[in-house]
């Protein structure tokens, strides 16, 4: 069976690396190095190339989990990583000053990919900051004429991340 490739993207600190580590069946390949900019105040390390993990569904289907770097300066990696991908998981960090703008930025940057595939949105850290609400995200998507399943998740919680993955599989009718 061919491996399916899913891509996790979103702003620095949203939990891409964490989410992949949470559900991967082997210790994920990571390319995290020390942060030397403002991000260092939020967390020590940041992904500069990619994360790679894997999960096998009950039916034996293997899913490759690829995480992108968050920063726009690594856009060239985004372009490499989406190749052959079948779905996008956008994680948004609710702690950041303008999470809705963040979401729009990633939806726009990955627009071509999303057009060809599909996306789900996971809002992380809403335990720390509960606005914008999921309704606010839905409203934004509606304004953009887009419909993507959107959930509040904790990237450290296996059930949450699996739920998001299932949503994407459902969208793609792969489950």
């Amino acid at each position: 069976m061919k491996q399916i490739k899913f891509i996790f993207t979103g702003p620095p600190g949203a939990g891409k690396t964490t989410a992949i580590a949470t559900i991967s069946e082997f210790p994920p390949v990571s390319t995290d190095v020390f942060s030397t900019d403002g991000l260092a105040k939020v967390k020590e390390k940041t992904t500069v190339a990619m994360d790679f993990g894997q999960i096998t569904l009950d039916n034996g289907q293997k899913i490759g989990l690829y995480g992108t770097p968050g920063q726009q300066r690594f856009k060239f990696m985004w372009e490499i990583l989406v190749q052959g991908g079948l779905g996008l998981i956008v994680l948004v960090d609710n702690r950041r000053p303008e999470p809705l703008k963040d979401l729009e930025a990633y939806l726009d940057n990955f627009a071509d990919f999303i057009d060809e595939t599909d996306a789900v949105i996971g809002v992380t850290c809403s335990d720390i900051k509960d606005t914008p609400s999921i309704d606010d995200y839905q409203e934004l998507l509606q304004k953009r004429g887009q419909v993507f399943p959107t959930f509040a998740i904790d990237a450290r919680n296996k059930d949450d991340v699996l739920f998001l993955l299932n949503a994407l599989l459902t969208c793609l009718e792969l489950s």
Partner: protein, 220 residues
């Protein structure tokens, strides 16, 4: 699981699409036009030479050693006005070196360039892809090179680990008309050396290593 109501309401918004795992699917590329919220895309002042041959002809025209921090501090004023309300972590560079440290580093880069005849670029950058200082004999997109080589070095180190090997000492790109060598200076800094083939690999590696060791002492 938390926030089940939200999750369910969102589930109702599922779109029913007919999508299959298309084996014939073309490679898909991320959208061409960058949307600039996360970080201001740096336009590298010199355009990337489209043609390597042309670049060769231009060799040695420009010989500039630049300190990025100085250039950036000079343009601080205009930048602040156009900034989004602190969306960008990059706004705050926490790794700061004194002018003296940077001047000494600049001297080391220049030393490296003169020790290796073929060398036409030496860049100090952070391991997460920010420029610190560089010395060039040709126009190169230094921001891009810094960022891409930080990815490459991290991948190299990761591949070494997966191959059950220890310390990754160099990542070497061997090209038809030159080499790009990246190596660590310390936990947070790296050096990238770019050279034509008129300097041999051994020489390039040893000069690169020596330079990185000296820089590690300067940029503590």
């Amino acid at each position: 699981m938390k926030l089940t109501r939200d999750k369910l309401s969102a589930l109702l918004g599922f779109k029913g699409q007919n999508k299959s795992i298309g084996s014939e699917k073309k490679p898909i590329h991320a959208s061409e036009t960058p949307v600039d919220l996360i970080e201001k895309e740096k336009t590298d002042s010199p355009p990337q030479p489209a043609d390597a041959k042309q670049a060769n002809e231009q060799a040695d025209i420009t010989d500039s050693t630049q300190l990025v921090s100085e250039i950036e501090s000079a343009s601080d004023e205009t930048e602040v006005e156009t900034q989004e309300p602190s969306m960008e972590y990059e706004d705050l560079i926490v790794v700061n070196y004194t002018k003296e440290q940077l001047a000494q580093s600049e001297a080391k880069l220049a030393e490296f360039m003169s020790a290796c005849i073929g060398a036409y670029g030496a860049l100090i950058s952070t391991v997460d892809g920010h420029e610190v200082a560089y010395s060039l004999k040709r126009d190169l997109p230094t921001h891009k090179i810094s960022t891409m080589n930080s990815s490459l070095l991290a991948l190299g180190e990761s591949i070494a680990k997966e191959s059950l090997q220890q310390l990754c000492q160099f990542v070497i790109l061997e090209n038809s008309d030159g080499r790009v060598v990246s190596l660590r200076i310390n936990d947070i800094l790296m050096l990238t050396c770019i050279s034509s083939k008129s300097t041999n690999l051994g020489m390039l590696l040893s000069a690169g290593r020596n330079t990185a060791d000296s820089l590690a002492k300067i940029l503590r």
